[in-house]
């Protein structure tokens, strides 16, 4: 009896050690993959792009939004970005400035053109919808490695291309997601698919990144389609024009420049 108990305990300990060791290895590999992908996309210095966003409701009705986006790459912290809405007319001229941070909440300001007012806004409501789309502020913000806990899951092919599949859990307790499953293409060194799970652990949305091409030596997706499985709505972001390695002045990303 004692022998059997001891044997069972030894087996359980062995499984736990190997399993635990395997979990640690998966976490280490997951983090390595995230850092590799991050490093492969670094060095763009500055980006200017024109973006079109098409919102499709559950009945197939479409709404179009257009914006320009300028990003300044920061070495030690998250990037600074400035979006200006071009269409529709009721939001034209509205600008949003974001200073992303690796470990703190992002700093954000909005410029309201009718009254020429710059106001600070809270970035805490990350799960809020961006411009009525299926993209949340969290989805579009700078995806710093430090903002997640990464775990390697497996290797898998997507559309015939080799991918790492990792699970990442947001470290911010206010995130709208309990976890995300990311398929990172080994060639593009970028995500081709991300599944977003809500706070209850149910699949909420899937993002598909398509049309990859090299821009100034870096792979960038031409479009992201986000499908909400719960509401049956979808939104697509398409880059109409994109230029990397643009020389930008960091001063342009101060809040006092928003009304310029």
């Amino acid at each position: 009896m004692l022998k059997r108990t001891l044997g069972a305990a030894a087996t359980a300990l062995l499984v736990a050690t190997v399993g635990g060791g395997s979990a640690l290895a998966d976490a280490k590999k997951g983090l390595e993959i995230a850092k590799k992908v991050d490093a492969a996309n670094a060095g763009f210095e500055g980006e200017r792009s024109e973006i079109e966003m098409v919102l499709v409701n559950a009945y197939g009705d479409k709404t179009v939004r257009r914006m320009t986006n300028v990003i300044f790459e920061m070495d030690e912290d998250g990037d600074k970005s400035r979006i200006e809405f071009q269409w529709p007319a009721d939001v034209k001229g509205t600008r949003m400035l974001t200073w992303s941070h690796k470990s703190d909440d992002d700093d954000q300001w909005m410029f309201l053109p009718a009254i020429k007012r710059v106001k600070r806004i809270s970035s805490r409501n990350k799960s809020g919808s961006f411009m009525g789309s299926e993209f949340s502020y969290e989805d579009l913000g700078s995806q710093e490695v430090e903002k997640f806990k990464h775990t390697y899951v497996k290797d898998e092919k997507v559309n015939g291309r080799d991918c790492w599949v990792t699970e990442r859990v947001p470290t911010d307790p206010r995130s709208g997601y309990s976890k995300q499953i990311v398929w990172n293409d080994k060639g593009y060194m970028n995500a081709v698919k991300i599944e977003y799970y809500d706070r209850k652990g149910e699949l909420l949305k899937t993002g598909k990144f398509t049309g990859y091409k090299k821009v100034s030596g870096l792979w960038r997706a031409a479009a992201i389609e986000m499908t909400n499985h719960q509401t049956k709505k979808s939104s697509t972001l398409t880059w109409k024009e994109r230029t990397l390695k643009v020389e930008l002045d960091e001063d342009e990303f101060d809040s006092d420049e928003l009304d310029s």
Binding site: A89, K116, V118, D254
Partner: protein, 304 residues
């Protein structure tokens, strides 16, 4: 002087808005809005002279272009109110040329400034004469003729202003429920008293200057300013030499600032100003001896 300025603005708008701009290979960006407005006073004042229900069309147009390091901006506002034609108005909000070089920026022309941090009360937002018969929370503003020099440092800037002309507010019409005068009486004489006690009219030279510093410090946005100018917010009723009434504005020195701080998801906003009225020697002015005005301060606090 106003006539000349208006001619320059109209010429700039025509140039920017027509093919002249494209002939010089200029890219002109434009945006505008047009809206219908209705205003209804719930409590009737039982006065047949006043208008209790207003319906108006208002619009705004902005044109911008860039020529090398220069930027030209023209922005105007117009309101047409057929229920009270005297309430209709057209004026420039922005009409300036900007030059940028490194950390310096120079702007010359009519500028629309917004120094506010709060939503309903704006003690620190004192530049620009208001269109007083508009939305009380966010009144439209006339562009202030200004020479502004800005230097960027750290996460903000310091800006110095010289405003050479007194620009009077646009007062409510004689039939408006928002008028300060008795019904049927128009406020059509507005003057400013200069430091020496002499009076100036709309768009005449006067002494106004100031400075402002803005900085972002962590989660906070801070600004402080000192302005010596003709106060546009606390008028006096005076009698002119011919006995006719006029609204008079006096010179003040204002010390003020704004503070916005993020505490987690809560934004705290504070706006404060202290006004020190300048009394001419012996209290004597061109329109007689004015009553002493007490200096006062205002603070507005908000949470979002």
């Amino acid at each position: 002087m106003l006539r000349a300025f208006q001619l320059v603005i109209v010429a700039a708008c025509v140039f920017l808005g027509t093919t002249s701009a494209s002939a010089f290979d200029l890219k002109v960006k434009s945006k505008g809005e047009i809206r219908s407005e209705t205003r209804y006073f719930l409590i009737d004042d039982d006065d047949p002279l006043t208008v209790d229900v207003n319906s108006a069309i208002a619009g705004r147009l902005e044109l911008k272009t860039k020529i090398k390091k220069f930027k030209v901006v023209a922005r105007g506002f117009a309101r047409y109110d057929p229920t009270d034609l005297d309430r209709s108005a057209v004026f420039a909000e922005d009409a300036y040329v900007e030059y940028k070089q490194g950390k310096f920026r120079l702007r010359i022309g009519a500028l629309l400034q917004n120094w506010t941090a709060t939503e309903a009360f704006h003690p620190a937002d004192i530049i620009n004469a208001r269109y007083l018969d508009s939305n009380i929370e966010n009144q439209e503003k006339r562009g202030e003729p200004t020479i502004a020099v800005r230097y960027k440092f750290l996460d903000g800037n310091v800006e110095l202003y010289y405003m050479p002309f007194f620009v009077e507010p646009i007062f409510p019409s004689a039939f408006s429920r928002q008028s300060f005068a008795p019904p049927g009486v128009a406020v059509d004489q507005v003057i400013a008293i200069q430091r020496g006690g002499n009076r100036v009219n709309d768009w005449e030279f006067t002494y106004q200057m100031g400075g402002r510093i803005q900085q972002t410090i962590g989660d906070a946005d801070v600004s402080i300013h000192v302005i010596s100018h003709i106060d546009r917010s606390t008028p006096l009723l005076v009698a002119l030499e011919d006995g006719s009434p006029a609204v008079a504005y006096q010179p003040v020195i204002q010390y003020g600032g704004t503070y916005t701080q993020l505490f987690g998801g809560l934004i705290t906003k504070v706006e404060a100003a202290y006004r020190q009225f300048y009394e001419p020697p012996g209290g004597r002015t061109e329109v007689g001896i004015l009553p002493e005005r007490p200096d006062f301060g205002q603070v507005a606090v908000g949470f979002e």
